[in-house]
Symmetry: none
């Protein structure tokens, strides 16, 4: 579970990110608005926690811009003011929940769990990356720029599923072997290569702009 925390007060962000990590989330921290906005677009997070008062770009701006770009990750806003107007503005511009400082960490965790649960249930069905959509129910891979579609065999599906849900990041052969085959054995890395090759053929067939880039010594990355 990947979470992005956008917060400029160092003490606050250190404390919250630490707690989230203890809960088993993997946390990225951005300490100003623009960087946070960039991060939202680059990776796909399971949730975003975003302060309102930020240097660079304020919380409302980030959220509405992100929503305009089609980002669907759940977003929780934090603010020091308990002012009701802020609350309304926050939800209006596309945030999913709202918390006023100071808050109990327990409350944040609870709301986070709730949002992630809700979101993964809704999302579950379609995964998206660039001009690709992957239907996790029918195992169909759809290219939105050519309108072509093809059904993937199970292993290829798992490869694609993992690559898409980690778009913007480099995925190692080890991770893929673990996710797709359930074990982790260097001898099996060739299988990863074979299936990457198969999957690339499917992307070619679809005429997709998205491609699977190899990064020598590191792994693979989906690029749009």
């Amino acid at each position: 579970m990947k979470i992005l925390l956008i917060e400029d007060e160092k003490r606050m962000s250190a404390a919250v990110s630490e707690l989230l990590r203890q809960e088993g989330y993997s946390v990225d921290v951005a300490d100003e608005g623009l960087g946070g906005y960039d991060a939202i677009l680059k990776k796909s997070y399971d949730a975003v926690i975003c302060d309102v008062m930020l240097p660079g770009m304020n919380g409302f701006e980030i959220v509405s811009a992100a929503r305009a770009e089609g980002v669907s990750s759940p977003i929780i806003m934090l603010t020091a003011k308990s002012d009701i107007t802020d609350k309304v503005t926050g939800l209006d511009c596309g945030a999913d929940d709202y918390l006023t400082k100071p808050f109990q960490i327990e409350e944040l965790l609870a709301r986070l769990r709730a949002l992630i649960r809700r979101n993964t249930k809704e999302t579950d069905g379609l995964l998206n990356a660039f001009d690709l959509n992957l239907n996790t129910k029918s195992l169909n891979l759809i290219c939105t720029s050519t309108n072509k579609e093809i059904r993937l065999p199970e292993k290829e599906f798992k490869i694609m599923e993992y690559l898409i849900s980690n778009k913007g990041q480099i995925v190692s052969k080890e991770q893929l072997a673990l996710k797709v085959w359930g074990y982790n054995n260097e001898a099996e890395y060739n299988n990863v290569e074979v299936y990457i090759s198969f999957t690339r053929k499917k992307l070619k067939f679809l005429g997709a702009k998205t491609e699977i880039k190899s990064i020598r010594g590191m792994g693979y990355e989906l690029r749009g």
Copy 2:
């Protein structure tokens, strides 16, 4: 996770190393100062635990010498004295934390975890020097003044990584050979030169203002 334990009391080092191994760390043990110092330079440890009272070279000397060589691994000092002066000397000379004997093993483990987390968090991501950014995850070198980017092969990456993390200082061929190839053999200095040459080509390609200066008889230095 690799840890180096420098401790001359056999009973102590046996007990601590055993506990660390149970926690899943891989542990190297040195029982005297010089050997410990060598080990720090040879491998790259995720943390070093270092006693103060040691034959050969005392803890403070080890730490300050290691820091002078550009070692950035977190270091915890151990001492029998609870004397405050020692504590100050320890942190001054470059240690990250300090523990007085006798200590609870739990406390050592907790501090170790904290240091390792802090250290890997800071390291992973971006290293910066002048108009260069080095992404330590993707091995990409980015020039901020031209917005160009290129992926570095492993050895060139290590060269750059070491130069950047020692910017403002002269880095000897010996240090580079040790860091990049893991050994230290005059015959191999030509490899350093070859790779410096490769890396310079990359900087030229990027159009970076930063350059690798040669300082005859001394080594290399990054200049902006």
